[in-house]
């Protein structure tokens, strides 16, 4: 299982702040595609992905027990 975290507007679009999924050995890009099929509106705008609290690239592989965060455009400060 992996854990997926949702923040800000993505939390509102999915109705979840986190969920557990069976998904490993595949890429960040594949996970995003899967989630975009699952949740309408998720693909509106740029989403970055962090694996275990570090920004990841689309081709990075997600491993079992990883904590994945979907990060919409940040607006701190």
């Amino acid at each position: 299982m992996i854990t997926v975290l949702y923040f800000a507007g993505l939390k509102e679009k999915t109705g979840l702040d986190k969920e557990q999924l069976i998904f490993s050995g595949k890429t960040v890009k594949q996970l995003l595609e899967e989630l975009q099929r699952k949740y309408e509106g998720l693909s509106d705008g740029i989403i970055q992905v962090a694996i275990n609290e570090e920004y990841a690239l689309p081709e990075d592989i997600i491993e079992e027990k990883d904590i994945i965060a979907l990060i919409p455009p940040v607006s701190g400060g």
Binding site: L5, F7, A8, G9, E12, V28, G45, I46, I47, Q48, V49, A50, E53, E54, Y55, A56, L57, P58, A69, I71, P72, P73, V74, S75, G76, G77
Partner: protein, 148 residues
Amino acid sequence: MKLFEIVETVIDPEPYRKAVLHASAGAVTVFTGHVREWTKGIRTIYLAYEAYIPMAEKKLAQIGKEIEEQWPNTKVAIAHRIGKLEISDIAVVIAVSSPHRKVAYEANEYAIERIKEIVPIWKKEIWENGQEWIGEQKQKPIVEGELK
């Protein structure tokens, strides 16, 4: 307090100034970012900030490290508040000490720019007639980016 932290209560800048002071620091710049009532003609009632706290604190510490590498003999402390913030509340404090003032100013500005780029914190503006999550992210889309 920690040198790089997300807090849920009122920010007092003074402890951050003191935390970066040391004997060879001739200058400390303390920047505070506040909740603004009017943005492009729209009146904000209050703001709600959210963060991915453990990653946000890591990224704040990364910014501190970048500064201390780029400008030798500086020391940095940063705190960002989350939750509901009213007009004029402090949302962020950045304290930078340096042997001389020029670097303290430059490095402090660098810190706020980097916060707006890489730290997973989100601001929701609540207006009289609506609300919206704000995205000011400067980074390129992930398909083009090199974020590591």
